[in-house]
Every structure is written in structure tokens, then in C-alpha cells.
Amino acid sequence: MKPGAGDDPFADDADAERPNAEGADGREGAEPDESSEPSTASPVDKPSTTIPSSDDRPESETAPAASPGTDGSPTVAELDIPWVLRRSSVKSDRDNVHQFFLRDDTARGERELRSEVERLLGKEVSKLDLREAAYLVAMDHPEEVAATLRSWGYDYLE
């Protein structure tokens, strides 16, 4: 991001039928395969500070701060009824959208994890719930997260 104009998204259209002409800097991103390459080091992947840490997240997911009663505090009903029963849709309270860019193996792993968790619970699990639950579990295991990053070669980065 810089002051002034960015790329021309339609630069290719004027002089080529196929959108494969390169921009002046040689990295015009019209080629889908190339520009969507998963990147393990993308800042977009980084958890933001808005994700609750293991210290301050609600113990039983019964009283998220995002659903206040009329006076701003959770109502009794909200405290008593578990979130998945109380919410109107799977997106309820999920105002923070964090995009995951996954490598194929990870996406496959997610499918396997989902079936395994579904087997344990004996019911279907939505992908959004699965991902958030998995993320919360990971927050309790920072050492294992670090070990995985090491296995990707993090120790060799500057």
C-alpha cells in the first residue's frame, strides 16, 4: 500500500485477449494459479488481537461479550443456554472474519478431523465451529504450534 494509484486491474484487457500480459513491475496478478499460491508467511494468516487468548475467553462459551442484554450485560437466558443452541445461525457472534489460506494437505486434514470429531460427537459439525474450536484448542498448546512451525523450517528463517 502506497500513496497514489495502484495497479490497473484492467491493464491486460486493452492489449490482449488472454489476461496474461504482465504489469510494469512484472507481477500483475491476473493469473489465478500463480497469485493464489498458498503462503505460510502471509500476515493475513496471523491471528489478530481480537481473538480471545486462552486467559480471557469464556470457559464454557456460554456468555460471549457480543450478545449483551438490554443493559449491556448478558441476560440470564443467555448465560444458561449453550451458544450453539442459542444462536440463530452458525455465523452468530462471528463478526470477525479471518481468512484461512490452507495447503491442500491441511485442507484434507481438516476433512479428516471433521469426520473424526463428528464420529466422537455422533452428529454433524459445521466447518466454522470445527475451525474455531480447533483454533481455541491450539491456543492452549502453543508449544506444539511452535513445533509444527519448526518442522516447516522456521528455525532457518532470518
Binding site: 502506497k2 486491474p9 489476461p19 496478478g29 497469485s35 466447518k127
Partner: protein
């Protein structure tokens, strides 16, 4: 062609009113303008310009259907003409599920693609739709108004427009939102292999306190153009939302007495629009279309 996304990490800074009024200012200057409303919230630009009547109609064709490759008709049928001839692709409730629907499409496309390494370009779908609809040859200006959250709406908007216009309030919060936005955009540029420019930062609702003067100085130090500072015009903006129109139309039709300071705000939107046009070297609309330097 001039293309930009209006975005601010903080809500309530007048993102939608600035999008709408810039679009109207471009149209009044003679340009053909298309605004794509990607904000699923009820108080979005399509509400302001009074074309959100089909947002909750389940069967209605809408932008999301086009983005996931399941349109129900031509793109041109999505477009609604609003005041001053500004064309708008209205918001639809299906935009709330854009993330989920793009991911489902990605699963399907990748599972069925002959190349096992194929990656579905999830953030390039708006650009694809716009290209396929021949928008660059039909319009001079494209404005995309995404919701104020990071996610596929914003990523698609930036991939399609490559330019940002950042409305913000002059406060600690506003400054933080610019810094946060910088991180996000840097990440996106690397991820998508594109360059994103900031055409302008627009302090909005400014009341002129000394703190705000210093924030303004810091903002200019970041190197962003600040072509206008829009003063606090609460009554004008509330009037626009009540009457569902731009500030131009509100002052023309609904103010019995013209107020100099409101006319000044209108001329600021015109100045801003001219500044944005100049940034990409768009030729004046009188020029033959063939000479327009896209």
C-alpha cells in the same frame, strides 16, 4: 478507468456516504459510474440510494451468484439506475454468506479440476465478473463499497480495484485504523501479487479541535493525499439517510434554504472526485471514448 474501494477498519466513519457522494459527484461531472455494494448490512449504500428492495428476496439473482459462477441472468440485469444516473449493483443478504459460498465453490472446483494442484482463485471472482460483464468498456468509474471487516468481500474488492479511498475520523482510533489497514494491505499485496495504491485519505466529521489538527499532520506525514477535510455535517448526513439520497439531492430537493456550509461540503465532494480522477489520469468525459486512457 478509475477504480477504487472505499474502506476503513473502523465503522461509522461515513464510508458509505462518502462512496455515494463521490459516485454522484463523478456522475455530475459527466462520467459513467458503477457502484458495487458488497456490504450486507441493512444500512448500506443500496439503502441510501433506495435500491435495496430485493435484498431479502431469496430467489433474486445477485452479485454472489455471479461470483460463485451460478448466475441466474446477465450481469446487466443486476444493475439498477439511481439518482444522477449512477448505476448500482445492490447489496443482497446472500453477501452475508459470501465466505462460506466461496469456500464451498473452492472445494468443488478443486475436487473436480483435472489439475490436482489447481487452487481456486477465491479473491479474484469479483474482477472476473466485472471483466466478463465488459464493465471497463461501459463505465468510466467503478466504486466498490465492501463491509468494514477484513475478509473475502474486501479482498475481492481490492483485487478488482487496486485502489483505496480511506475515510477516517481524526482521532487515536482513526490513526490506529490506518496503521492496521497498512498491515492488512501489505499482507494482501504479497498474497495476491498486486500493488494497491491509496488515492486519498478523507478525514470525515471533523470538528476542528487541536488534537485533530495534529492527527491530520501525522496522516499527511504517512504520505497519503488528503485532498479535503469534511467537517461535521451531522444534520445533512442524517437528512440523506432519512430521505435516502445523496447530499447533492438532499440540498437541492429537501432544503428550503441553502446553507453556505452545506454547499461547501458539496463542492468538497466535487473536489475529491476530481482529485481521484486526476490520480489515474482519466480523461474528461467529453473526450472520445477511444482516447480514454484506462
Amino acid at each position: 478507468m478509475l477504480t477504487y474501494t472505499t474502506y476503513s477498519e473502523a465503522g461509522g466513519v461515513g464510508k458509505t456516504t462518502i462512496s455515494a457522494n463521490c459516485a454522484v459527484a463523478h456522475a455530475r461531472a459527466g462520467y459513467d459510474v458503477l457502484v458495487v455494494d458488497m456490504d450486507p448490512q441493512d444500512g448500506s449504500l443500496s439503502y441510501l440510494l433506495d435500491v435495496d428492495d430485493e435484498r431479502a428476496t431469496g430467489g433474486a439473482d445477485n452479485l454472489v451468484r455471479h461470483m460463485i459462477g451460478r448466475p441466474q441472468g446477465p450481469f446487466a440485469d443486476l444493475v439498477r439506475e439511481t439518482e444522477h444516473g449512477v448505476d448500482v449493483v445492490p447489496s443482497h443478504n446472500m453477501l452475508e454468506r459470501l465466505t462460506e459460498l466461496l469456500m464451498k465453490t473452492a472445494d468443488l472446483e478443486e475436487d473436480t479440476h483435472p489439475d490436482p494442484d489447481y487452487v481456486y482463485p477465491m479473491h479474484e471472482q469479483l474482477l472476473r465478473v466485472i471483466r466478463e460483464a465488459d464493465v471497463p468498456s461501459r463505465y468510466d468509474v467503478l466504486v466498490v463499497d465492501p463491509p468494514a471487516t477484513a475478509g473475502p468481500h474486501l479482498y475481492n474488492a481490492l483485487f478488482a480495484t487496486r485502489n483505496l479511498v480511506i475515510p477516517l475520523e481524526l482521532s487515536g482510533k482513526g490513526e490506529q485504523s490506518v496503521a492496521g489497514l497498512q498491515d492488512l494491505v501489505d499482507g494482501l499485496e504479497a498474497e495476491l501479487g498486486i500493488n494497491i495504491g491509496v488515492l486519498a485519505a478523507i478525514p470525515n466529521g471533523v470538528k476542528g479541535t487541536s488534537d485533530q489538527e495534529s492527527y491530520l499532520a501525522e496522516l499527511e506525514e504517512l504520505g497519503f493525499d488528503v485532498p479535503v477535510v469534511v467537517r461535521d455535517r451531522t444534520s445533512l448526513m442524517e437528512g440523506c439517510w432519512r430521505r435516502q439520497c445523496s447530499a447533492f439531492t438532499y440540498v437541492e430537493r429537501h432544503r428550503k434554504r441553502k446553507r453556505d456550509y452545506e454547499l461547501e461540503t458539496l463542492s468538497q465532494f466535487e473536489t475529491l472526485a476530481e482529485h481521484l480522477v486526476a490520480q489515474v489520469g482519466l480523461n474528461a468525459p467529453e473526450q472520445p471514448r477511444a482516447e480514454v486512457d484506462a
